[in-house]
Symmetry: C2
Subunit: 308 residues, 2 copies
């Protein structure tokens, strides 16, 4: 029992992308940084739990890339290597940095990504489906064995093209983790409380709506939990903030090993803490090398932010 | 001492507008509702403190209008009556209801409003300068005797025309209560933490930034206090939400009778609670007739919203 319990508390599977990002913001420019949804997720979740990655990279992916994950205890058994180039993304942020202007997307090997879940991953209790084709997300769920909790993200591109597939997918997940724009686009409701209600009507038990600088809201039963964003003087690069949030959220849930209103509230707090580190530096620089003390201090900053 | 203390705890002066509003939202249309900044403020603050109003109405202002305030214990000694018509405003809200589309503004007697503070108001400890010409706001401060705390609001129109006058005014106030758009426009800073820093550099000790559905942030010393917005299914009419927030904020401060980080945090909570009632109905219908129990319940909803 103890072993099972420990295992249950200690692993999360993420299916998403590993990429190289070139990003320009008012703070400068960085080329070919390690990025992608699975990378940002793993960088946050690994402080709280064992992370198992399913993604694809090209034959150009360097040993230092693998090493980055492995020195942080991240399991790469599910990282496929395909002949060709790794996914590249290039973007610029201006003004309020609320929205990235995509300058180039080279999907490369990610174009034909078909997630294969290794046997050793199949009974992972916590599963995060980062933003990929909703049919592939559903395919992942067919491969895994009764996870304790499945969370899914998506993006505007899939909402435009495959809205019905997303709705079906959400019927098989426990938590939808979307940003405000996605929630509105998916439901055609501007009011986020109404949007969350609609999202949950598709079958997902909980909805978490990320609002960037305005924080995040969890809809859970008849109740809500909301955290404001931490006012930061230095927002350097918001790339990956949503996946970092999801990493903190799922990582903390996995660490706690139970899904209750209380653990979900804590998970939103941990997601917000990790996302706040993410935006303060380029790529994963803000989250890659934190200490327990860094995270503890930032948790206290958030608790103090809302103390009344 | 006791008497002085009681007096100190029990009154707030508001200088602003009393108007008739015609508003159309997706929930319907209401004509000639009692509105204006001083009205919304008073409707919220009167639950917590004695409210003294300085404003102007026309000779068309009906006895029922006066009665509305007087039955709620609001002091109208400072309400001037001028020959002519009361201020009228007409607006429509669409879609997200974040922004009113002004259809008509008839300032009428409000055009030449010159605030005169009655002698009996001059030592009011808490003073709220609602959005009027910043030179008139400054004139009010010349008439009152050393208030314990002065808070001021403004709007885009004055920021465009009289930015320097607003900055000077903020040098004589303790709290700037602005919405996010105003804070950005006044400071030319998109980042709200930077905007608040600049606002405080003008001389005001505290800055409160209202973010509509996203809540409010208090900048106080080196610290922040932030409350998320309460996700509401029914946002019927946001008119006056900012003044209602200010009413709850100043009302609670006045009731507590002291200005500390703790009382300011509570004041933001009370402001948010009162604003949440305001938006759920047209005009002042949401705040005019609350019970202590209604307010207590909503306070608990907010406390539960951020409990972690």
């Amino acid at each position: 029992m103890q072993a099972r319990c420990l295992r249950y508390k200690m692993s999360v599977l993420v299916v998403g992308s590993v990429a190289f990002d070139t990003v320009e913001t008012p703070y400068g420019r960085r080329e070919e940084m390690l990025g992608g949804s699975a990378t940002h997720f793993a960088c946050a979740a690994r402080y709280f739990t064992k992370v198992k990655v399913v993604a694809v990279v090209g034959s150009d992916f360097p040993p230092s890339g693998r090493e980055f994950f492995e020195t942080r205890g991240v399991d790469l058994e599910g990282l496929q290597v395909r002949e060709g180039k790794t996914f590249r993304w290039e973007a610029a942020y201006h003004g309020d940095m609320g929205q990235a202007e995509t300058l180039a997307t080279h999907l490369n090997v990610f174009k034909d990504f078909s997630p294969v879940i290794p046997d050793s991953y199949k009974d992972t209790p916590f599963v995060f489906l980062a933003n990929i084709d909703p049919d592939l997300q559903a395919d992942v769920l067919r491969q895994v064995k009764k996870p304790l909790l499945v969370a899914a993200d998506t993006m505007n591109h899939w909402i435009a093209d495959k809205k019905e597939a997303i709705k079906r997918l959400l019927g098989s997940t426990d938590v939808a983790i979307l940003n405000d724009g996605e929630a509105r686009m998916l439901t055609d409701e501007h009011n986020l409380a109404l949007a969350a209600q609609k999202i949950r009507s598709y079958g997902t038990k909980y909805a978490v709506i990320k609002k960037g600088e305005h924080g995040a809201v969890l809809f859970c039963g008849e109740r809500c939990f909301a955290l404001p964003g931490l006012p930061l003087l230095d927002v350097v690069d918001p790339t990956g903030a949503g996946d970092t949030f999801a990493g903190g959220f799922m990582g903390r849930l996995s660490q706690l090993g139970e899904v209750t209103e209380g653990s979900l509230r804590e998970a939103v707090l941990y997601g917000s803490v990790m996302a706040s580190f993410n935006v303060q530096a380029f790529g994963v620089e803000g989250t890659a090398n934190l200490t327990e003390e860094d995270i503890g201090k930032r948790l206290e900053v958030f608790r103090s932010l809302i103390r009344v």
